[in-house]
């Protein structure tokens, strides 16, 4: 099992948000987590990535056999976990290409590989940018600086494609995207799908799942998984809303 979350509880600012969440993702799988506002979706992504202030109070998280909770955020990333942020921050003064290269080299170092060759790296980045329909001028700009909401989301996926993580947790990557941008983002995510990789998609809407077809869909309610099913569950949620699941939970 690639990721095994067992009976996980977590608090944010002293408030209990995750409450006995259990979830397992195997290599090669794409899981989608849906759920109403405040159900703990983003909290789950931050807990997995190790954001300060998101405190685990019970349960366990194992990633490729390692206890994820003992690792610092940067160690989790180097171990192969990637978080696609719902609201990527702007970091003027640090340019995109620099961040990409530093991130790739951090991961390569952890894997015992030498630093990436500058020319090959640029070729790789260019190819991925083409896939994400991003202009190369983005590379020399500050990280997310002055990017539109959609550009920021594309940039998250670009980073993911260049870093090539083992497990990608994508927090509402579809929010704020028009239909064309959604397709571009979905194409990027699908291009990363592989037998040795896992994806956890966190989303409000079924429409993303038309383009990235999940193996399993889970509904999160009150900090735990209230219902799991295949992709047809997402369609049912679209028709009936969340109440029928969350009330039963």
């Amino acid at each position: 099992m690639m990721l095994k979350i067992d009976n996980l509880s977590a608090t944010v600012g002293g408030k209990k948000v995750l409450n006995g969440l259990t979830l397992a993702i195997d290599a090669g799988e794409v899981h989608a987590i849906m759920g109403p506002n405040g159900s703990g979706k983003s909290t789950l992504s931050y807990v997995l990535a190790g954001r300060p202030g998101y405190d685990i109070t019970g349960g366990s998280v194992t990633f490729e056999g390692r206890d994820l909770t003992t690792l610092a955020p940067e160690e989790r990333a180097r171990a192969g976990l990637f978080l696609g942020f719902q609201y990527p921050v702007e970091i003027p003064g640090v340019n995109n290409v620099y961040l990409l290269k530093a991130a790739v080299n951090a991961r390569r170092k952890a894997l015992g590989l030498t630093e990436v060759d500058a020319y090959e790296f640029l070729q790789l980045v260019r190819a991925k940018m083409k896939l994400m329909q991003m202009d190369e001028s983005f590379l020399s700009r500050g990280v997310n600086e002055g990017f539109s909401g959609g550009e920021k989301k594309r940039n998250e996926i670009l980073q993911m494609l260049v870093i090539e993580p083992t497990l990608a947790v994508l927090d509402e990557t579809d929010s704020g995207l028009d239909i064309d941008a959604l397709k571009v983002v979905a194409r990027g995510v699908n291009s990363l799908r592989a037998a040795n990789r896992g994806v956890l998609l966190i989303t409000h809407y079924q429409r993303l799942l038309d383009h990235i077809v999940p193996d399993q869909v889970h509904v999160l309610a009150r900090g735990r998984i209230a219902k799991s099913g295949d992709k047809s569950l997402a369609l049912e949620l679209e028709k009936r809303g969340y109440d029928w699941v969350t009330e039963a939970a």
């Binding site: 990535a49 190790g50 954001r51 300060p52 610092a72 955020p73 940067e74 989790r76 990333a77 180097r78 990637f82 978080l83 942020f85 990527p88 921050v89 970091i91 003027p92 003064g93 640090v94 340019n95 620099y98 961040l99 290269k101 530093a102 991130a103 951090a106 991961r107 952890a110 500050g142 990280v143 980073q159 870093i163």
Partner: protein, 401 residues
């Protein structure tokens, strides 16, 4: 009433944050000409005439560029009188804020006078090396700059150390920018960390003239910069960007008063300072808009970053406005590294020390990036990165010179 010889003290309004102890202890006599020794003179920049002073005394007279010399080293006593008529006497009030400038005039021997005639341009790079210890005397560099109508000058003014680490410098700069003229003035203070470096700048900016001032302060146990800039002519403009890194037990203190004394005068002031260790930083930016300075426009952005539990920083905008028809925007923040940005970088696998260095760099780069002259900017980036102690981490971000 302050006696003319009295030095400022921390009780004086504009001097609260300055570390004045080294100044009080220093011998006020002007240092003699140091013995000839190799100085680490910065590599020349293309097109710039280079002047070098050691303990405020000229080392070599450079060859005159094509079109003749606009700069000359003069005897301070006579040059001061000649320049007084050019400079707006009203700027330099008799108060304690000018005590150091007066001390410079009283003790200093040599002045570098730069006079760019109407409609002409020049580029000059001046390095002032502090050589002897403050126990032996004080170094009194002085620059007098006069730009004729529509003249242009690119000026680099550096204060550096060579020799004793505990030198005391009291510099003075007088500036007069004629109508329609443009002065680009980059000041770099990179003296030894034990040095004390004080300077007073007085500027008069004429009609439609522009004063682009960039100040980078890195060295000095105690550094204090005082600036009085008067936008005296209609649509005079001042664009002032300052950056400072105070580490260890360094104190860097700034006071800048910009006086909008004519209609449509405009100022943009930006300060970025990082206080690390037990370093102290203060920037007091005072904007005055006179009654007749209608349609003045001032914009201040003063930010400091604390990077150490014992570090202190204060960014203080001050506005004195005597007219209704004015646009005045100001913002000041003092804080630690942004936790969200830090987490974002960590989540990409970047080491914590490297991520912190990157964010400090990003913070100060806001100011450094505004040094227009690329080769100079690259060198300054190197100096700043060295002060952040993370040059290796910043490899690839900071251009190699």
């Amino acid at each position: 009433m302050t006696a003319p010889q009295a030095l400022p003290g921390n009780r004086d309004e504009n001097w609260r944050y300055a570390n004045l102890r080294p100044l009080a202890k220093a011998r006020p006599d002007a240092l003699p000409r140091p013995e000839a020794a190799a100085l680490p003179v910065p590599a020349p920049l293309a097109g710039f005439q280079q002047w070098v002073f050691a303990d405020a005394r000229l080392v070599d007279r450079p060859a005159a560029p094509d079109g003749g010399n606009v700069a000359d080293c003069l005897d301070a006593r006579t040059a001061g009188d000649a320049f007084a008529g050019i400079l707006d006497a009203e700027i330099a009030a008799a108060g304690v804020d000018f005590a150091l400038s007066r001390a410079n005039a009283r003790h200093g021997d040599e002045v570098l006078r730069i006079a760019v005639p109407d409609g002409t341009q020049a580029a000059i790079d001046v390095s002032f090396f502090a050589v002897a210890s403050g126990a032996q005397g004080t170094s009194y560099p002085r620059l007098q700059i006069q730009l004729g109508r529509r003249a242009r000058l690119e000026l680099i003014e550096r204060h550096l150390s060579a020799g004793a680490p505990d030198a005391v410098v009291n510099a003075a700069v007088d500036v007069s920018v004629g109508a329609g003229a443009t002065l680009s003035h980059v000041r770099v203070q990179d003296c030894a960390e034990q040095a004390s470096v004080f300077d007073t700048l007085v500027a008069h900016v004429g009609e439609h003239a522009q004063y682009r001032l960039r100040t980078i302060t890195l060295g000095g146990l105690s550094a204090r910069s005082t600036a009085f800039i008067k936008l005296a002519g209609r649509a005079a403009r001042c664009d002032f960007v300052a950056a400072s890194v105070a580490n260890g037990v360094q104190t860097h203190d700034f006071f800048a008063e910009i006086d909008h004394a004519a209609p449509e005068a405009a100022t943009r002031e930006l300060f970025r300072g990082i206080a690390g260790g037990r370093g102290k930083l203060a920037f007091n930016g005072k904007m005055i808009v006179r009654e007749n300075a209608h349609d003045a426009d001032s914009d201040q952005s003063l930010k400091t970053l604390l990077n150490g539990s014992g570090a202190e920083a204060a960014a203080r905008p001050q506005l004195e406005i005597y007219t209704d028809r004015v646009k005045a925007k100001h913002g000041a923040t003092s804080g630690k590294l942004d936790e969200q940005m830090l987490f974002y970088l960590l989540s990409r696998g970047i080491d914590r020390p490297q991520a912190q260095a990157l964010l400090q760099w990003a913070f100060i780069e806001d100011a450094i990036s505004q040094i227009e002259l690329a080769p100079l900017r690259q060198r300054i980036e190197q100096l700043v990165a060295a002060r952040l102690n993370e040059v290796a981490s910043l490899d690839g971000l900071v251009s190699r010179s």
